[in-house]
Symmetry: C2
């Protein structure tokens, strides 16, 4: 069989890559390569895409929000129309279950995100138009003037896909073209999305380079890309080492970069809650930890309880729960290897493996559900060493000797996407909660009560963000419309600009009659 | 006369610095040192201030917005009460005129900023509270959890003073304590502000470390400070080399940094406007360029006109105007030396000095008002070399050969704080404007029509920001309330958090009855 090299999408045309190598996706359930042959693009491809992307910025700036919204909605429809093919392809490339995952939750979420992005675009309130009538100074959030580069992660082939996921939808709704860099674990899935997107551009007459797609790059070319003068901004979701390298390159060039770089998502279970329903929490914990084979950004990777009878009972229940479910497939060999390394490192540093701890025999990429424990004192002696995300169904329970030690563990935490506190209903935990919550509040983007962190509602008030090193800036969210659009915007002021030269959103008359604007300090739709 | 070393303000106490050296301010009108002896703090001082600042974060988080507002208002009153002393001191340290500058515009602006910050704090709408009632997910902008370090610039001893200016006011209104690093050109002025601020903390019972102040640091200690684990964020206004070094240190540590690092503030005067009132524009131009001795962030440092009879007439008129006013005093010897170097570099690169170009004889720091010209072609051969801010009354006029060349000059611009376009009233320039404005829009935070960029109205829609290298991130503004507060905040989500544990701004009931909140996608005060 002659292998055909898959084409890249540059400026609306599916063309042969100027490649520096090839790769194949791998079926995680068998470890065997899948048939498609994909190019690793050279920087020539990148430069062609950036040039086309820059031109698309100019054309998109002239396109109405309605046309952008129409594209996003058609794209959502198009995805729905090819759902079976997408689910089949993604299942093959990721081994994630078709149900209850790919077809039942992730694809609907992806479609919902595109529709919410369309609604945000059409509504325009996300632009936060501000008008000071007396001085005739007006300002608004607008697109960046350069394409947004989206590096998709391995773990959500649909919802965070570089060519169809939340970052892509937000960047385009904000008026920026997107250059999608597929994750090499699911190139065929990404290509399908790009095909559908491409076919939806003509109806609403958007520029051909509104969405472009390449599959893979040498790391050095990724660094050049995020720092390129034509680049508008970058969105990266993935592991910390790659994220930090991209951050450094983008920072040095003064290019905005939205990063989501890992998190251990600490869960504090206070003594009253343990007493009240420790067994039930242990069940929630193991379900949250092992969902998606533990490959969620918000997987609870660190649990803190007080040492004592209730803590030990919780640990025993958690251990039973961890043993029960079969291990899911990990997304690739590198995930398996990293996970093994993470567990080995924690064990070497003094954590005790209670269950699991090694790969599952077989051809696919599987690792036993793994629970570790460590004392609060040992954790505190080297807190940094126990806060590396172990990407998979692995969690570390810290047994704190005292409430004070529990607080010190909280103080020693790095920035996280989420932090949870379980407390009792009777109020016995309230005193400890009131001391713990202010500490956690400055360490996390999302603070939860009485529930596990996995599962993100796509609502306007969601925050998927947090202090470094979970992300690169604590003021933004990567999930939730319309707030996630702001990551890809510039704040633009019009000072004494003549009325007919203002963007419609800043003219005296409200362009939709519904858009919220801040006029002389008051939000209004007038 | 025995010189007393001036004390630093750490945790509410005026105490002797752990110093690594001393310095004196200099009277720019004479070049002679002023009497006060000030310490260069060691990192011990910094660490003491950071530790106190971190504790103040916790206490401020419990303080009501009303108490923070009361402090800011008392501070404004206190400044008013010691206005004469402040004006006298700042005049001595900066040689800026008492009127029409220090006493008549800058001090009133500073007081107004503090009052606007107080109003923002009390109003709370800046926090952009968002509530999704169905999912019970709520989010809000909140303080960072670490003190904000403010590095004040040399050019605004009041309005951007690290202990009383816009950054200080914004950071505190957002609930963060401030560690002010005085500019060494006006330490006595800064000390006065810190004294007044200190005296206003007790009434509203704010933490003693809400405002702390040191005078000077070794550069290496500045880099350690912005990257310190206890630091919340940094605000820096100043020159590009220092800004870039601080940016790199902060970025590497993942610490937010708000930067304002220089701008040439291009002004495009289109042919019709030149024809219609070139002479008047030339007068506006020279007044804007020489105001404050050219030491404004938004000074027009680059003017682009079409070559031809009208362009030459404009140049001749500008030259006359530049010659007319006496040169003001520059803020210090280093400003004079940098300015001389900038002019020499432009001349070496091919710009022709039309008037000025050298220091004014005398004991003080003065430089002739300087106008240079260059052809569009020469500019475009090395555009980067002509975009270094020359901090002083110096401007470069680019004579573009054609409209196309004018557009290419615009395309070659770096990020700027402002960009202006003058066009005629009859409409002859409209075609060119419509091609030029989209290019400038992506290069600047503030786009102006028919007026010069100096003079910032402190209104909610003002943007004092722009793409790198003017600032570090195009999504923020350093001037204008309440938007400037957002630079010093984290976006914080409360997911399923019990009602009595929510901050008042996120509880069902509106805490003030007036605060704007985004509830289920609609802005409301309910």
């Amino acid at each position: 069989m002659v292998r055909i090299m898959q084409p890249v999408l540059i400026d609306g045309v599916w063309r042969e890559a100027r490649s520096v190598g090839t790769f194949q996706a791998v079926d995680p359930s068998t470890g065997s390569p899948l048939p498609g042959l994909f190019p690793i693009s050279s920087f020539e491809d990148v430069e062609a895409a950036l040039a086309a992307g820059r031109q698309a910025c100019k054309d998109l700036a002239q396109a109405s929000p309605e046309r952008i919204a129409a594209f996003l909605e058609r794209f959502a429809e198009g995805i729905l129309g090819r759902a079976d093919e997408l689910i089949e392809t993604a299942h093959r490339e990721t081994a994630l279950p078709k149900a209850p995952r790919l077809g039942t939750t992730e694809l609907p979420r992806t479609i919902d995100q595109l529709r919410q992005a369309a609604e945000a675009s059409r509504n325009r309130s996300w632009r936060r138009a501000a008008i000071d009538t007396k001085s005739n100074i007006r300002s608004i959030h607008g697109p960046l003037g350069g394409p947004v580069i989206v590096f998709g992660p391995n773990n959500f082939p649909f919802a965070f896909n570089s060519a169809a996921g939340g970052d892509m939808a937000a960047a385009i709704a904000a008026g920026n073209p997107v250059l999608a860099k597929a994750h090499p674990y699911h190139p065929a899935t990404t290509k399908l999305f790009a095909e559908i997107a491409r076919s939806c551009l003509e109806g609403p007459r958007l520029p051909t380079a509104t969405l472009q797609m390449i599959y893979h790059l040498r790391p050095v070319d990724g660094l050049r890309l995020v720092a390129h003068p034509l680049t508008g901004a970058t969105a990266f979701t993935g592991g910390r080492p790659s994220g930090m390298r991209l951050k450094e390159a983008a920072d040095r060039a003064g290019k905005p970069i939205s990063l989501e770089m890992s998190s251990v998502n600490p869960v504090f279970i206070l003594p009253g809650a343990l007493r009240e329903h420790g067994e039930a929490i242990a069940a929630e914990f193991s379900a949250s930890c092992s969902g998606g084979a533990g490959q969620f950004c918000t997987k609870p990777g660190l649990v803190v309880v007080l040492d004592g009878a209730d803590g030990r009972d919780f640990l025993a229940a958690a251990k039973r729960n961890f043993k029960a479910p079969p291990s899911g497939f990990l997304l690739g060999r590198s995930v398996l290897e990293s996970l093994q390394a993470s567990v080995s490192e924690m064990a070497r540093e003094g954590a005790e493996v209670l269950t699991g701890g090694k790969p599952v025999d077989g051809p696919g990429f599987q690792f036993e559900n793994t629970l570790l424990k460590i004392s609060g004192r040992a954790f505190l002696s080297h807190p940094g060493r126990f806060q590396h995300e172990a990407f998979g169904a692995v969690s570390l329970v810290v047994l704190a000797g005292t409430e004070e030690e529990m607080l010190r563990v909280a103080e020693a935490l790095e920035g996280n996407l989420s932090a949870c506190v379980y407390s009792d209903k009777a109020g016995a935990d309230d005193g400890l909660y009131s001391r713990l919550a202010p500490v956690l509040r400055t360490k996390t983007g999302r603070l939860l009560n009485d529930k596990m962190p996995t599962g993100l509602a796509i609502v306007p008030s969601m925050v998927h963000g947090g202090p470094f090193p979970a992300t690169g800036h604590p003021g933004f969210t990567g999930v939730g419309f319309p707030a996630s659009l702001l990551r890809f915007t510039a704040l633009q002021c019009y000072d004494n600009v003549r009325p007919d030269r203002l963007p419609p959103e800043l003219q005296d008359e409200n362009p939709t009659g519904k858009m919220w604007r801040l006029i002389d300090g008051e939000w209004t739709r007038k």
